[in-house]
């Protein structure tokens, strides 16, 4: 039994870890000619370039990416929590249609939507602006958030709100002191994954942002074209930091709630 578990565990670990090995090696290499398995010279040039003064563009990209993802996530939560609550708690005519309306933006490629919206955004002065890019990210971050919050509310106990109401608590107090604390783990997961979704967008940002909104993925593509492998590898590693943080947090939440999350 134990043996079988190891036979399963080590190949999986190796397969999952494999893509990160060349990224780590390239990011700390100064010289790595072909047949050598390991770099001939190690160094921190790439890191100095990314975080130092010369890499100003990359730091700006980091800032833009973060700001875009944060704003998108906040708006998604503001509109997503009420909608998720309605879908999780209630049955109503037209629920199937609402579900379809929410499913399509998650599944239909964002490039089709972005191409259509671009001309409209251009006329409204939203193209090549921060707001415009937030709006295109909202197109799929908002439905995604609603799906997470929907899941949270499908096993939500309304009795606590009833008790607070019978004790005379006003509506806003019920929202902020009963509902939000109860669904906080779910909200944090929704926020993290909406952040990640916006953070990893490439093409829709490029179409609507038109080269003005140089986010990290856009810079990463141009670095790949320029062929500076150590810098591209370093930016790739910076790019997966939020993903890794999200993973740690959701693992932490999972630890608290046991296996309820996936059952």
């Amino acid at each position: 039994m134990r043996m079988r578990q190891h036979l399963l565990f080590w190949p999986i670990l190796l397969t999952v870890a494999l893509p990160f090995i060349p990224l780590l090696l390239w990011s700390i290499s100064e010289q790595w000619f072909y047949p050598a398995l390991l770099p001939q010279n190690f160094g921190t040039r790439a890191y100095q370039y990314v975080f130092g003064t010369a890499g100003n563009q990359i730091l700006t990209g980091l800032f833009i990416s973060t700001a875009l993802a944060l704003v998108t996530t906040c708006i998604s939560l503001i509109f997503g929590i009420p909608a998720g609550r309605a879908l999780g708690l209630y049955d109503f005519p037209g629920k199937k249609f609402a579900t379809l309306l929410l499913t399509l933006p998650v599944i239909v490629p964002s490039l089709s939507v972005a191409m259509g919206l671009h001309l409209w955004f251009l006329r409204m002065g939203l193209a090549e602006t921060f707001t415009g890019v937030v709006l295109i990210h909202l197109t799929f971050c908002l439905p995604y958030t609603i799906f997470v919050i929907w899941g949270v509310f499908s096993d939500y106990n309304l009795d606590f709100e009833e008790q607070a109401r019978s004790l005379g608590a006003p509506g806003w107090k019920i929202i902020f002191q009963v509902m939000l604390p109860m669904i906080l783990p779910g909200i944090s997961i929704a926020a993290l994954f909406s952040f990640l979704l916006s953070w990893s967008q490439y093409l829709s940002t490029l179409i609507i942002g038109g080269g003005k909104m140089l986010t990290l993925p856009i810079l990463l593509f141009s670095l790949m074209d320029s062929g500076d492998r150590p810098v591209a590898a370093t930016v790739s590693l910076v790019f997966i930091v939020p993903a890794f943080l999200a993973l740690m947090t959701s693992a932490h939440n999972l630890g608290r709630n046991g296996m309820e999350g996936i059952r």
Binding site: F9, Y90, L104, I107, G116, A246, N253, G261
Partner: protein, 311 residues
């Protein structure tokens, strides 16, 4: 488990109908739901509708006199369209099928030998959150003729020069693209199946065993029917995603024929402004194929459900 959790909700949405809840007043529902639904309809519905108009030749200021199917017919008559469609279908169908088979085996293995192994579950979640772009770059560093594998084989004396290494990126069979997609999607499908298997418990399987069902019989008559809806839903999402995604085929694909999304964007961003409506038309065809796939699979599901009810 957030991503799995929410994706499961989406899988539910495309595979089964879930909903047992209370009733409430229309006004309350309206206040809760309408802001979000209006934003989504405007941005998503509006985006597709405007895209469709532009693909029909509408340009603001020029009026509607150029409206017609000329861009669509032009795209559909272009042999490149069918080459691109072919390569995109090949990539998404192959990666979805391989990922599905691997996931069924992996989910059953996890269920049997590692149902409560925390470390294993954590490791399997890493591919869920890693962006496709980064994994595409890593695949380039690993699989290209001067990549890590080529270096490894030449150190081992198997290769004499990098030109002897088989072409695994920008190649005819799209090995690099398939590898990235399978790496990314296997954990996703596996977690979907694992959740169902865990809910199913072992009772049914034990009943099957007492009735002298062989391992294969129990798999085809007990396990498969139970996991089928989730497997179908997850595969549909994977298919739709891999069919419409741009980054990975752009990084790891050949310059000809291009995957459909790459070809759409190439036309869209062409310096020749006449190519732009054609690019949008390809984008609309892309969206149309995916919506058709969803509708078709829903109908199929409905049909099989009705049949099993009548039996």
């Amino acid at each position: 488990m957030g991503k799995t959790c929410s994706k499961r909700k989406i899988v539910d949405a495309v595979s089964t109908s879930s909903g047992r809840g209370r009733k409430t007043s229309f006004t309350r529902l309206f206040f809760l739901l309408s802001p979000a639904l209006i934003i989504i309809s405007l941005l998503f519905g509006g985006g597709l509708a405007l895209g469709f108009l532009q693909a029909l030749g509408y340009l603001p200021g020029q009026g509607f006199d150029q409206i017609g199917l000329q861009y669509f017919t032009h795209v559909l008559q272009d042999p490149d369209f069918f080459n691109s469609l072919g390569i995109s279908l090949y990539i998404s169908i192959t990666s979805t099928l391989i990922a599905a088979v691997v996931s069924v085996i992996l989910a059953l293995a996890l269920m049997r030998w590692a149902a409560n192994n925390r470390a294993m579950h954590f490791i399997l979640q890493i591919p869920l959150t890693a962006p496709h772009l980064v994994i595409g770059i890593a695949a380039l560093f690993l699989l290209s003729p001067s990549g890590l594998f080529s270096r490894l084989f030449s150190q081992l004396g198997i290769l004499t020069s990098s030109s002897h290494f088989p072409l695994l990126v920008n190649d005819r069979l799209s090995i690099g693209i398939l590898t990235v997609y399978i790496w990314k999607e296997v954990p996703f499908i596996t977690f979907m199946l694992f959740a169902v298997l865990k809910n199913m418990g072992s009772e049914l399987d034990e009943v099957g065993a007492t009735l002298n069902g062989s391992k294969t019989q129990r798999f085809t008559h007990i396990t498969m029917p139970i996991i089928a809806p989730s497997l179908g839903g997850a595969c549909l999402i994977v298919f739709a995603f891999t069919f419409g995604a741009f980054e990975v085929p752009y990084l790891l694909g050949r310059t000809y024929p291009m995957a459909l999304p790459v070809w759409a964007y190439k036309n869209y961003s062409d310096v020749d402004l006449l190519a732009r409506p054609e690019g949008i038309a390809i984008g609309m065809l892309l969206a149309g194929i995916i919506i058709l796939a969803i509708v078709f699979s829903q109908l199929l599901l409905q049909l099989s459900r009705n049949r099993s009810f009548s039996l």
